[in-house]
Symmetry: C2
DNA sequence: AGTAATAAGATGATATTTATCCTGTTTGTG
DNA sequence: CACAAACAGGATAAATATCATCTTATTACT
């Protein structure tokens, strides 16, 4: 019932990239250092983001990672889905899964609504907003 | 990002017990059979529920498991919390954890709201309501 | 050519999940 | 009291997921 570390790393990476001028690259070393993430593991994570089409990478000198989407058009929900696959609070909420007593199951409906509510919140703020002002936050 | 099987088993067990006349026992074999759950594993799960004060057990003939709470006073949120511990979408949402950049972290706030929204839905219907009528549900 | 950067595959250390087995303990019944 | 029924609890284990790290490419700029 928790995000994986990898999802968090991905979110913080996307946040870092969202703060860059559009089209600019940032290197994974830099991201790792700034966010204090394990560099090699971050590389793997970036590969996932790249395959999902959220970022693109360039090798060699002057290389690095940059967004292929506009910060205003993606949310934490998108990043988590990219890293962990489509979110499903329970197997019966995943595509293609079928539970025998699902039609009558009242638990199913509740879980479904809970998941929808969670996703709605995760999808409310875009990275553009997240990367914006850092102050005037509610602390806790 | 998913409930454990054990949580689901616990929910379905509580649901089964909620349908019993107040104060009555049901045996774990019966629950396991009716809900098609692995019996021994269910026993472990029941122990957790018992330690959390949601059910009480009696050994020996005529023994079994019964609720120690009123079905109208507990929700899925309570059961999941009992089995998995207090829900925290991310380590920084758990009690006592401290992340260095938490005060300024805007991700934290979003995760917190997402979690709150999810818990609100999970806490909306009590087991009394869940155990009530089985029909007139939205199927998908 | 050389260097800086990501890609990709293999491997592994841990932790969690999902059980099962065996033995103990409690309790009602005859 | 002996027995059987039912849960309790500890040990064990298989499967899977998580969180990496190591090594060897491959790509691209200079
Ligand atoms: S019993 Fe209900 S909640 Fe559980 S898997 Fe089946 S449909 Fe989903
Ligand atoms: S970086 Fe933000 S979201 Fe991540 S653990 Fe720290 S406070 Fe929580």
């Amino acid at each position: 019932m928790q995000l994986t570390r990898q999802s968090e790393y991905a979110i913080r990476t996307m946040l870092e990239l969202s703060m860059l001028p559009e089209g600019e690259f940032m290197q994974s070393r830099t991201i790792a250092a700034r966010q204090e993430l394990p560099e090699q593991f971050l590389n793997k994570t970036v590969q996932i983001l790249a395959r999902s089409g959220l970022v693109e990478t360039r090798r060699g000198m002057q290389g690095g990672i940059r967004l292929t989407v506009k910060p205003g058009e993606i949310t934490i929900a998108d990043v988590v889905a990219a890293v962990e696959g489509k979110i499903a609070l329970n197997p019966c909420l995943a595509d293609g899964y079928h539970c025998a007593n699902q039609p009558a199951c009242r638990v199913h409906g509740i879980l479904k609504r809970a998941q929808a509510a969670m996703l709605a919140e995760l999808g409310k703020e875009t990275f553009a907003e997240l990367a914006g002002e850092d102050e005037n936050r509610i602390t806790s």
